[in-house]
C-alpha cells in the first residue's frame, strides 16, 4: 500500500511538472514556433515569475521582502505582469533587429537577474532563497493535496491551450505566421510587424513567468538556482524542438515526452554513489543535448509536425 502511494505521488509529481513545462512550452511556441522570436533567457522570466509570486504570497518572515500574504491567484497574475513588463522593455529595444540580438539580450536579462538575486538579500534572502511558499489545497489530507494541485495545473494548461488555439486561427495568429514566414510580404500588407512581435514576446514571456510561479508554489521554495539555464531554458527548447515547434499540440507532447524521459533517467543516475553520483547526471544532460542535435538535423519538424495551410510546402 505504501509502495502504491509512493508510485502515485511520484506520478502526480511527474504530471504536475510536465504540465508546468507545458505552460512554458506553449509560451515558447508562441515566441519561436509561431513568431520566430528567439528567447534564450527563459530562465530569467521563470525566475522573475517565481520570485514575484513568492514575495506576494508568503507570510511575514523578516528575512526577505514580503509578508503581503496575497492569495495564490493574485501571485500568479503579478508574476505574469512582471515578466510581461520586462519582456516589453527588451522587446522595445531588440525586436527590430535579427533574432540573434534578441537571444543575446534575453541572456543579459537572466544574467542581471542573477546579480540582483545574489546582491539584494533584503528582498530575496540571497542564496538561501524564499521558503514556505503557500501551495493551494495543501491542507487536504494525503495524496489529495498534490492531486488537486495537479488538476489545477492541468486545467490551466487546457485553458491556455484553448486560448492559443483560438488566437492562432484568428487573424492575429495568421498575421504572426505571415511575419515568421515572409516578413516583407506581411509588411507590404500593411501589418505593424513590430507590434505583433512585441505582443507575442510579452504573452510568451508572461507564460514563462506563470510557469515559474507555478513551480515555486509547487516546490514551496525558490532560490537563485531558478536562473540556472540548464533546467529551464535548455529543457524547454528541447521540448519544443522535439515535440514540433509551430503547433501547440507538439509543444505539449514535447513537454510530456522530454520531462518523462528526463525524470526516468534520473531514477537510473540516482543509483550511482560517490564521486560519480555528481558526474553521471551531466551525462544525462549531454544525451538530451545529443537528442536535440539529432532531431534538429534529421527530424526538424518534430514528433507532431506543424500543419501548414493547403497548397504550401515546407519552408526552412
Amino acid at each position: 500500500m505504501d509502495q502504491f502511494i509512493g508510485i502515485l505521488n511520484y506520478l502526480i509529481f511527474l504530471i504536475t511538472m510536465a504540465g508546468i513545462y507545458g505552460v512554458m512550452a506553449l509560451g515558447l511556441n508562441l515566441q519561436w514556433g509561431l513568431t520566430g522570436l528567439f528567447n534564450i533567457g527563459v530562465a530569467g522570466f521563470f525566475a522573475i515569475g517565481a520570485y514575484v509570486s513568492a514575495i506576494m504570497t508568503t507570510a511575514e518572515t523578516g528575512k526577505h521582502l514580503g509578508g503581503y500574504g496575497m492569495p495564490f491567484a493574485l501571485g500568479l497574475v503579478a508574476a505574469m505582469i512582471a515578466s510581461g513588463i520586462i519582456a516589453w522593455g527588451i522587446g522595445r529595444i531588440c525586436i527590430r533587429l535579427r533574432s540573434d540580438y534578441l537571444a543575446i539580450a534575453t541572456i543579459g536579462i537572466a544574467e542581471i537577474l542573477r546579480l540582483i538575486l545574489k546582491n539584494e538579500g533584503w528582498a530575496t534572502n540571497g542564496a538561501r532563497g524564499i521558503s514556505n511558499i503557500p501551495r493551494p489545497f495543501e491542507t487536504l489530507p494525503g495524496s489529495l493535496a498534490p492531486l488537486s494541485y495537479m488538476i489545477l495545473v492541468l486545467a490551466l494548461v487546457a485553458v491556455l491551450y484553448w486560448f492559443l488555439e483560438r488566437g492562432q486561427k484568428a487573424p492575429w495568429g495568421r498575421v504572426m505566421r505571415a511575419i515568421r514566414d515572409n516578413e516583407p510580404a506581411a509588411r507590404a500588407a500593411g501589418k505593424n510587424v513590430e507590434r505583433f512581435r512585441i505582443e507575442a514576446f510579452i504573452i510568451g514571456s508572461a507564460l514563462m513567468g506563470l510557469g515559474g510561479a507555478l513551480t515555486a508554489h509547487f516546490i514551496k521554495f525558490v532560490g537563485p538556482e531558478a536562473t540556472d539555464p540548464l533546467m529551464t531554458t535548455f529543457l524547454l527548447w528541447v521540448m519544443l524542438i522535439v515535440g514540433g515547434s509551430g503547433n501547440n499540440v507538439g509543444a505539449l507532447v514535447g513537454a510530456g515526452v522530454i520531462w518523462t524521459a528526463w525524470s526516468a533517467t534520473e531514477l537510473i543516475t540516482a543509483r550511482f554513489t560517490g564521486d560519480w553520483a555528481v558526474r553521471v547526471p551531466f551525462l544525462r544532460l549531454f544525451l538530451i543535448g545529443l537528442i536535440l542535435q539529432i532531431v534538429l538535423q534529421k527530424f526538424s519538424r518534430g514528433i507532431v509536425p506543424e500543419k501548414l495551410p493547403e497548397g504550401r510546402s515546407e519552408v526552412d
Binding site: G36, F38, I40, I93, C94, L97, R98, S99, D100, Y101, A103, I104, A105, I107, G108, E111, I112, L115, K118, N119, P229, L230, F234, W237, V238, I241, D275, V278, R279, V280, F282, L283, L285, F286, G289, L290, L292, Q293, L296, Q297, S300, D316
Partner: protein, 299 residues
C-alpha cells in the same frame, strides 16, 4: 600608498586583464557572426574547454600555464573543427537561426562533458599564493598579469598579421565584408569557415586559460562570460576583429573602473553589479548604434 598607485594596482591593471580576456573571446564571436552569420552561443563553453585542457596539461607536467597555453589552443581548435563538421555544417545551407539553437545545444553538451570528465569542483592551476612583483617600491603587478596582458598583445599582433598578410586571412575579411562578392570572386568558402573556427576557438581557449589563471576554473566560467563577450563584439561592430579587440578592452576597463570611488569615498557602482556594465553598454549600443563603433554589420 598613493591614490594613483591604488588606482593602477587595483582598478587599472585588473581592468586591462579583464579587457584582454574579453577581447580574445570577442574576436572569435565577431568573426563567426560576420562570416558564418550566426551568434555562436557555445563560444563561452569553448573557453571553458580550453581552460580545462590546460588544467590537464598543467596537472600532468607540472608546467606553468603559459606552457600549457599552446596545447590548449590547438586542442580546442581541433575540437571546434569537429563540432563544425558534425553539428554546424549540416545546416550551412539552411536558415542560420537553426545554427543558433544548435550552438546553444553544443554549449550545454560541452559543459556537461566537462563536468563528467573533470568534475564540478572548483580547480586552479597552482596551489598557494604567488607574490606580486614590486616595481618602484609600490607598483605591484602579479606575474600572471604580465603574462596575460603580454600574451594578449602578442596574440593580437598574430591575428593582425594573419588577417592582413595571409591569403586565408584576407579571404576571411572579404567574406565578412561582403559574402556575395567574395563568392563571386571564387574565394573558397569551406576553407574560410575552417580557418574561422580554428582562429576563434584558439583565441577562446587562450581567454579561458587566462580567466582560469587569473581567478579559478569553474565549469560555468565560460557561459558567464558570454554576455560581456557578445557586448564587446557588438560594441566594436559585428564582423570587425579590431573593433572586437577595442570593444573587449573598453568593457573590461569599464567594469573594473566603475567600482572606483570617483565621487566621494564610496565605489561608484557596487562591485556586485559590475558585470551589469557590459549589459548596460550593450543595450545602449543596440538602441543608439547597433552597427557598433567601427560600423560593422547589423543583421
Amino acid at each position: 600608498m598613493g591614490d594613483l598607485l591604488i588606482f593602477v594596482n587595483f582598478y587599472l591593471l585588473p581592468g586591462l586583464v579583464l579587457g584582454s580576456i574579453y577581447a580574445l573571446g570577442a574576436i572569435g564571436v565577431s568573426l563567426v557572426f560576420g562570416i558564418l552569420r550566426f551568434a555562436h552561443f557555445a563560444h563561452g563553453d569553448m573557453m571553458t574547454l580550453g581552460a580545462y585542457l590546460a588544467l590537464t596539461v598543467v596537472a600532468v607536467t607540472g608546467a606553468n600555464p603559459m606552457l600549457a597555453l599552446p596545447l590548449a589552443m590547438i586542442g580546442t581548435a581541433i575540437i571546434a573543427l569537429g563540432i563544425d563538421r558534425w553539428f554546424y555544417k549540416p545546416f550551412h545551407d539552411k536558415s542560420t537561426i537553426v545554427l543558433v539553437i544548435a550552438s546553444f545545444g553544443i554549449a550545454l553538451m560541452l559543459r556537461s562533458l566537462i563536468r563528467v570528465i573533470w568534475g564540478v569542483e572548483i580547480e586552479s592551476y597552482s596551489v598557494g599564493i604567488s607574490r606580486p612583483l614590486v616595481f618602484f617600491d609600490s607598483l605591484r603587478i602579479a606575474e600572471r598579469h604580465i603574462w596575460i596582458i603580454g600574451s594578449t598583445v602578442v596574440l593580437m599582433l598574430i591575428v593582425h598579421w594573419l588577417l592582413t598578410r595571409t591569403r586565408t586571412g584576407k579571404a576571411m575579411r572579404a567574406v565578412s565584408d561582403s559574402p556575395e562578392l567574395a563568392r563571386l570572386t571564387g574565394i573558397p568558402t569551406e576553407r574560410v569557415i575552417k580557418a574561422t573556427w580554428m582562429l576563434g576557438a584558439a583565441l577562446a581557449a587562450a581567454a579561458g586559460v587566462f580567466v582560469g589563471w587569473d581567478t579559478q576554473l569553474q565549469t560555468t566560467m565560460g557561459w558567464n562570460l558570454l554576455l560581456p563577450i557578445f557586448a564587446s563584439a557588438i560594441l566594436g561592430g559585428i564582423g570587425r576583429p579590431y573593433g572586437a579587440m577595442a570593444g573587449g578592452m573598453v568593457i573590461g576597463l569599464a567594469e573594473e573602473l566603475s567600482t572606483y570611488p570617483w565621487i566621494g569615498t564610496e565605489p561608484l557602482l557596487s562591485p556586485g553589479y559590475k558585470t551589469g556594465i557590459a549589459f548596460a553598454i550593450m543595450v545602449v549600443m543596440l538602441i543608439w548604434r547597433p552597427a557598433g563603433l567601427l560600423r560593422g554589420r547589423v543583421y
